[in-house]
Symmetry: C2
Subunit: 148 residues, 2 copies
DNA sequence: ACTAGATAGTAAGATATCGAACGAAAGGAG
DNA sequence: CTCCTTTCGTTCGATATCTTACTATCTAGT
């Protein structure tokens, strides 16, 4: 990066590299090939409750429905979630965690927390100070034509 | 995210979403399907000079050589770069910008600069203040050994 | 000079992601 | 009720990325 780049340009560049490194770090640490999107969905359901529709999940993660279909199929094949028909809408489904899914999420959370704590300690990252401005940036980027 | 999440966890989560939104925003604005990795390589060569090897480029972007091979093949097929044998090492190649590649990069830079300027104005992002800590985070992720 | 190991680029196969197109079902206007 | 539009999930084809494996070439140690 040099001085000709607008700061925001350089910032997004840096963010892209960090995302890639962090994703790699997480996925390599998993013994069973659990991918970051899989974990993210499991984590979401533990924290905010399951029983949501695939479409709701897709919107929550800013992904297309097609992508969510793929992720849910993988999670179901691993036995981490269960898909049931929506009693109120014959087009829709509902996604539920299985005990295995919940357990696998706990495992990943525990490991990740340990890893990140060690990282933060070694690198002296003040993550809480960065969080608010990045959320503002996300919100600004988010005002875009809706997808799908 | 709630209070149980370590701040760094939430931070990386936010970064992942921003990366996705920014990539989408860029790629949708291109009229000819130019992808972010393609632009990134063109931009790098304009700013830091061409004539590098694929391996050097892969390292610069933290990508595998295989990924860079793919990107360079696309760029060459579009006529944006030219690959020549390295005179000093028969295993290696050298990557050069074509006039078309340079022009396409200028076009994308111009548009992106305008778009980001508007975004920064709308959102009051202090990108320069965020840049240094994120670079520290990147360096930490890049260096810190994984536990497994 | 030979040989073993490292390095350069590529290929194959996997996965995540997107956009486009689809059938099924719901909802609204008449 | 009928037709039109919207919404839900899925499938298909494309692209970027990774890992693994391969060939060709270079380099160092003996």
């Amino acid at each position: 990066m040099n001085d000709q780049d607008p700061a925001l340009f350089a910032l997004l560049n840096e963010i892209g590299i960090i995302e890639q490194l962090a994703r790699n770090r997480f996925e390599r640490a998993q013994p069973d090939g659990l991918r970051l999107p899989h974990f993210t969905v499991l984590n979401h359901m533990v924290r905010l409750g399951d029983g949501k529709t695939p479409g709701q999940l897709a919107r929550a993660f800013q992904l297309t429905k097609a992508t969510m279909t793929n992720t849910l199929q993988r999670l179901e094949a691993r036995g981490f979630i269960r898909l049931e028909p929506d009693p109120d809408d014959a087009r829709a489904k509902r996604v539920f965690l299985t005990p295995e899914g919940r357990a696998r999420r706990e495992e990943a959370v525990a490991f990740t927390a340990t890893d990140l704590a060690a990282l933060a300690q070694r690198a002296d990252i003040r993550a809480d100070a960065l969080l608010a401005p990045l959320r503002a940036l996300r919100t600004a980027l988010d005002r875009d034509p809706r997808r799908n």
